[in-house]
Amino acid sequence: MSDQVAYFFQDLGQYLINGIAQGSIYALVALGYTMVYGIIRLINFAHGEFYMVGAFVGLFLIQAHLPFIIALPCAMLGSGLLAVTVERLVYRPIRKAGKIQALITALGVSLLLQYLGQNLLGADPRPFPDALENKTYMMGPLMISKIQLIIIVTTVILMGALRYLVMYTKIGKAMRATSYNLEAAELMGIDTNKIISFTFFVGAALAGAAGVLVGMYYNTVEPMMGMIPGLKAFVAAVLGGIGVIPGAVLGGLVLGVAENLVIGFWVSTYRDAIAFAILIIILLIRPAGLLGRNTREKV
């Protein structure tokens, strides 16, 4: 009997570790959704593709024998530049066109990037070369792999940097000002177009980092890889309260942990459905999301 209890807690601990690693990835991607939504009220469905592009940039650089520590910032830069380009060429011209139009455009951009990726890179999944030796560490009875550790540490560092940027720097304060009210920010002399570009850049860079980490974690990269994680990160952002930065982090972690608990203790078939089940339950209880404010949305 006591053996069973011990096993239960050992399993629980293991699923929590796996869940936190997985949730870190969701959180990194969810941040971009929430930041872009916060600033221009756009659900950028192409965000999953920024993540995919980051994974490919990371793949190519690591194939070229560059170390992870170089590949990661380059992938972030690649995703960020793509996002800035998409914003400038597509989203900016239609910014005043209406929400449905923007949503459909975002879906279009997402599909375009997926098929462009298939066309240029081929549809076949590519293995990620081992950038790191695959070590596993024991923490008492629990295992944590080196890549899980790297995922968690990288995420913590990036989130710390993001928090510093948003809370304490001049451009971060301008981002918050723009997100509260774009016209009021303009009246301060803030070039809100630049701030919006920058927000796209930062959000996509985080997604790009997540792409590299996922490529290493699951050892596979392909042009459609952004679709499901993109959707789940969107769910995580809504779960946490869309537009609220700490909400995206919390939403990602909740989702990652819940998924791993369900897979571990129950069945893995429901893995992808679980995200949406959690979303529905939480939104029934807290319509604005876990950390969302219960204010009505501005028109």
Binding site: K170, R176, A177, Y180, E183, E186, L187, G189, I190, T192
Partner: protein, 243 residues
């Protein structure tokens, strides 16, 4: 102000027409403000006062007519570029940044001027005018009372070090004692050399501190002149002063 007719106005609106889609909000408005003046723009709800200020600030662009600043057209500029020229606005409804502290709100006001000494000078001046802001400087602006938020909005606009300050209904929804503090501050700021265009529904208070006044009704100027004369004008008294 006898030099008016000979010098170039700091601000001139010429035949200003502004549309919101099919709605014709301003019908050929003309207005001038000279350096050192307080000019007040009066009118009831929906007359087009905010539309006028938003057009000067570059948030809206005229369908016809001009906005001249020191004689130069500025109506094609975006709002952040207009601030750079030396025109800043405390908008209707204040629109302070609620999640930023009072001090950070003022920092945003000075977004375009990296000059630390100037920031310090303007900041000290603002907290001398509004001592409450000093006590509350580390508080989130959203937690302040309406009157205090208006002080933040005015101080924030002043931190841009403007030549021309636009104020959109600073007395709206504010306790009477604070209204007095705010109008006193407007007079003080003007005495330091800042030209002020004051939009108000509170005609009595505004006419008392302004040099000249314009009355706007449904998108057009229907009366203009020295503030003192308008204050004693029976028509104005009847329509706006409740006599």
């Amino acid at each position: 102000m006898n030099t008016q007719s000979t010098s170039t106005p700091i601000l001139e609106l010429k035949n200003l027409n502004v549309h919101y889609g099919a709605i014709h909000a301003l019908h050929g408005l003309n207005l001038k403000a000279y350096k050192g003046e307080i000019v007040t723009l009066l009118g009831s709800n929906g007359a087009g006062k905010s539309t006028t200020l938003r057009t000067i600030s570059g948030l809206l662009h005229p369908s016809k007519g001009e906005v001249l600043f020191h004689g130069n057209p500025i109506h094609h500029l975006s709002a952040h570029e207009v601030v750079k020229l030396g025109i800043s606005q405390a908008p209707e409804g204040r629109l302070i940044f609620p999640d930023l502290t009072v001090f950070e709100n003022l920092e945003m006001g000075a977004f375009l001027s990296p000059d630390k000494a100037l920031f310090k000078k303007n900041y000290e001046y603002m907290i001398s005018l509004f001592p409450r802001l000093k006590e509350r400087s580390k508080q989130l602006a959203g937690t302040l009372s309406g009157g205090e938020q208006q002080m933040v909005a005015m101080a924030r606009a002043y931190m841009a070090n403007p030549e021309l300050l636009l104020l959109d209904e600073p007395s709206m929804g504010i306790a009477p004692i604070l209204v007095k503090a705010i109008f006193d501050a407007i007079v003080q700021i003007n005495k330091q050399g800042t030209t002020i265009l004051l939009v108000e529904q509170n005609a009595f208070q505004s006419l008392k501190i302004a040099h000249r006044a314009y009355v706007l009704a449904t998108g057009d100027i229907v009366m203009e002149g020295d503030a003192e004369k308008l204050l004693n004008n029976p028509e104005i008294q009847k329509a706006y002063l409740g006599h």
